[in-house]
Each structure stands twice: as structure tokens, then as C-alpha cells.
Amino acid sequence: MTALSKKDRILIELTVRRIDFKLDGRVPWRKRRQVRDELRANLLEAARDKGAAVAVKELGSLDAIADSYLEVYRGRFDLQTGSYWALAMYAAIQIVGIAVIVAFHAGVAASGTHSGTFSFNVWNGFGPYSGSVSGNGQSFEMTIASPAHIALMLVAFAIGSSYRWLFRKRSLPAKRGF
């Protein structure tokens, strides 16, 4: 048994947190805390026996451990995946928004107008696509947030966070081995 240095404790805490990050939003909060506490206690014990670096190495792949914990404790909703889906939805809306602005600007330029400001609005006040371009092509404005953005992101979040549960396989119980 050896005493642990501050560096050892930091290494162990980082290891625990790396595993915990993958469980964030996927495993109920109370269960996550139990997993963290147990992992930390076991790692501290192992580190006192053979050093923190060896203890962490003998733990194996952190991703694999997190996946194993997810398999056991996964909750009904996956808030982490839901957040990624919402961000992806926002990015998709904005990419289409840029394409719309470019197309609108091309239309204004093709009309041969060189002065004034031209604006467009899809679903006035709701969004997600509205903006304006100057006739000389020097400036443009586009919507970066609107009620439609929020609504679409909420839909993406709801689907992303629950699709695994909604479409889970309802299989017959497997024949039991070991």
C-alpha cells in the first residue's frame, strides 16, 4: 500500500469523469453518482496497491466500460444524443438559410437592380427563413433565431433523445446460457 499523490488523485478523478461524461444525460443522475463513487473507490484502492497509472491502465478501454455501464443503466431518454440532434437541426436550418440568401441575392443581381434593399420572408414572424440583401450585393441579413428554429430544434431533441427507446427491439427473451 502506497500513499497517493495529488497527481495520482487527479488522474483517477479524470478517469472517473471521462467515463461519467459518456453516461451524462443517458443514465439517471442518482445511478451515475453511484457508479462514480464505486469506480473512484475501486480505483483508489487499486492505485494504492500498484500505482495510479497501472490502476487506470488495468481498467481497460474507458469507452468500453462506459458502454457496459450504459447497457446496464441506460434510462428511457438520451438527453446527450437529443442535444446533438438539436444542434444538427440548427446547423441544417442555417445551411439551408445561407443557400436561400445566396439564391435570393442571385435573383436580385439578375434583375439588374443596383440600389435599395430587398427582403424576403417565409412564414412572416415565425421563420425560419427571412432576410434581406442590398441591391449592390455589399451586405445581407439573415435570421439566426426564430420561433421556427426553436420548434424544429425541440422536435429534433425529442426524437433524438427517445428514438432508441421508441424503436427498441421487443424481442423474445433469449434462451439462457451462462
Binding site: 500500500m1 457508479v35 463513487d37 464505486e38 469506480l39 473512484r40 473507490a41 475501486n42 483508489l44 484502492e45 487499486a46 494504492r48 496497491d49 490502476a55 488495468e58 481498467l59 481497460g60 478501454s61 474507458l62 468500453a64 466500460i65 457496459s68 455501464y69 447497457e71 446496464v72 443503466y73 439462457r176 446460457g177 451462462f178
Partner: protein, 122 residues
């Protein structure tokens, strides 16, 4: 189970890990790291700690083991596991399945491997 280089097939180990854990817990109440060291003392030297801890969670979720926190002199409280009634039943079933498998495979693996497989008859 031993290979020539002394390592174990990780898939094979995974399959019998629950049985080994239940058997060890039937002998004595233990916590995660202690179970890892007990498995290593049995000769399963390349077992990874990270495969044992979630396996204990799975057994607890399936009501085969129960746990309690015990304050430790070394700092963080240890989570001690012990077999439940369901665990004893599962252990008996797994041991029986294991023995059946060993009995079925023993005659096959105890024979020397022929240098060349026989040709199939036309």
C-alpha cells in the same frame, strides 16, 4: 482455457464472468477491486477491472446480488456485494450449464488434433 502464451480468450472469459463472480460471492462478501484480485489469484491474470465493475452492476440489476456501503479506512466507502436468493438459484443453474458444456466438450478436446483433416467422401 489457458493458451500457450498464458493469456485467456476474452470472449470466453466474458461468457463465464457472471458465473465466476457469483461463485466468489457465494464464498465471501466482497467489493469490486477485491473481486478483481481474487479472480487474478485464481489465474485469470489478464482480466480487466473495467469488465468486472459493470458486470457487478448487471448482476445487481437482475437481483442476483445485493450491495451495501461499508466505510473504509482508506477513504471512499466500499460497496460490498453478496448473493441474494435469486443469485443462489442463478449460480446453481449456471454451474449446471457449465458442467454440461464441459462434459460435452471434454471428449472432443481431450483427443489429439490430427495433423490433417480427413477428406470428404464424394
Amino acid at each position: 482455457m489457458n493458451r500457450e502464451n498464458g493469456t485467456h480468450d476474452s470472449q470466453l472469459l466474458k461468457g463465464v464472468l457472471s458465473l465466476a463472480l457469483l461463485r466468489l460471492l457465494a464464498e465471501r462478501e466482497s467489493y469490486g477491486y477485491e473481486l478483481v484480485t481474487r479472480l487474478r489469484d485464481l489465474g485469470l491474470t489478464d482480466i480487466q477491472d473495467g469488465s468486472v465493475y459493470p458486470a457487478l452492476g448487471r448482476l445487481e440489476r437482475d437481483h442476483q446480488i445485493t450491495s451495501r456501503l461499508v466505510p473504509s479506512s482508506s477513504g471512499a466507502a466500499r460497496k460490498y456485494y453478496r448473493l441474494s436468493a435469486g443469485g443462489y438459484a442463478e449460480l446453481a443453474r449456471s454451474e449446471s450449464a457449465w458442467m454440461t458444456l464441459v462434459r460435452a466438450l471434454q471428449p472432443l478436446v481431450s483427443k489429439p488434433v490430427p495433423p490433417k483433416p480427413k477428406e470428404a467422401l464424394p
